[in-house]
Amino acid sequence: MPDAPRDTSPRRASWLERLRRLPEESTAKTLLVAFSVAVVCATLVSTAAVALRPRQRENRDRERRARLVEIVSRIPGIEEIFARTGARDVETDMVELATGRIVPSMDASGFDARKAAQDPEAGVAIPSALDVADLGRRAKHAPVYLVKDRGQVKLVVLPVEGSGYGGPIRGFVALSGDGNTIVSLALFEHQETAGIGARVEDPAWRARWQGKRVRDEQGRLRVGVATERLRPEDAAYQVDGISGATITSGAVNDLLRYWLGDDGFGPFLRTLR
């Protein structure tokens, strides 16, 4: 669609007019146009970004809380724990596993543990002597979910993972505020055989974990799954394996001992005591 012809009527030539009448291809005009466009666009974009940032942060936080509530509410029995402890406030923190310290500047929302584990900088190779859960690599940081009541930690929920018979096993272990007593073990991502290894999800088997302690008075790691006869001296720390599911039981044993041990959340749990 062609333009209408230009207005050529004589007019008092202000400096603005002279600017506008510069020939298009002149260097001065090119630079001027380029500069003006850059300034206007940059101002527009930066204003929008800065002005909208608070709202965006709010949105991200709200989403994180919603996802967290969803994660925590998947732990069977969590409702009664909430009722018992009177706690309703779930806080997510990112923990540096090696030191056990919370890293306040890290954002837990959108954190992908699997991706981070593979990343050369965010993840680290686990030395084979320590890699009881056969993970190969793990992320340097992990999210922890703290259920607090009036500032006091009542429940600690930790994400755990290991290698099962059919594939990776993932889930959460919930410990009471002392960081040493198991309240619940929820392993809901796995490929174990139905009716055999998959019985890690059986309420009956899971109920056995209630009250088991992770470490003894000397601080030694005692938690585990007994694949042979459960010895009386281990009863406070271990549960019987699932009969017929030796590999799965061993996998659960390994993943618990890894993540609750010194190469996993051990340092963090010590800060709670």
Binding site: C41, V45, S46, A49, K115, D119, P120, E121, A122
Partner: protein
């Protein structure tokens, strides 16, 4: 297979920019009528992508992302919202420079490839490659592999489609489907083929 080689392989086959993510379709559809022109376009894309993805990666890593300006004493600055316009600016600039360099140092190459270069600027696959690289959180070597792989994958796609379309000229497609319609169907079938490779893990 690990590291950069795996990235390269994945970018060409498993995460093909054209057939798995459907980027650069307009250009692909427009240029895939003849294999010779398609290959020319493919080469241009490979060259540009291999250069722009690492450059954009560095730009993002050391200038734009949150905390990137720490080396300049400004660790709290987050300029990632400028990524889009910066990337496209870099791409346009690199293409322009490439075109001028070709014209100066390799005129015959410029004669055959030169016309494709401006089209490459607006090829969504180029920008998409850089944007995806930001999400990948790899390192510099990874970005080179990803750029190369992304370009090769796209070139593979356009060459394959052009090969089929050239033959289809002698086919007997219904009148309403000739040209664009048949091209879409060819693309769809090729994409289905690539679905079979998605999720493939080698090594």
């Amino acid at each position: 297979m690990s590291g950069p080689l795996k990235t390269l392989f994945d970018a060409v086959f498993v995460e093909n920019l054209a057939l798995s993510f459907f980027l650069g379709m307009c250009t692909l559809l427009a240029i895939s009528r003849r294999v010779s022109t398609a290959i020319g376009m493919g080469v241009a894309v490979v060259v540009v992508q291999t250069i722009t993805v690492p450059v954009d990666y560095l730009l993002h890593r050391y200038l734009l992302s949150a905390g990137a300006l720490g080396w300049a004493g400004l660790p709290d600055v987050d300029l990632s919202y400028l990524s889009l316009v910066s990337f496209i600016g870099v791409i346009a600039a690199i293409v322009q420079v490439l075109e001028m360099a070709l014209d100066r140092f390799a005129p015959p190459l410029h004669a055959s490839l030169g016309i494709f270069l401006p089209l490459v600027t607006v090829n969504c696959a180029i920008l998409g490659g850089s944007l995806f690289m930001v999400e990948r959180k790899g390192d510099f070597v990874d970005s080179v592999a990803y750029g190369l792989g992304g370009g090769l994958g796209w070139a593979l796609a356009i060459a394959a489609v052009a090969g089929v379309r050239e033959r289809l000229r002698y086919g007997d497609a219904p009148r309403g489907l000739r040209g664009l319609g048949i091209a879409f169907i060819v693309l769809g079938l090729t994409a289905i083929g690539f679905l079979a490779i998605a999720g493939l893990r080698v090594g």
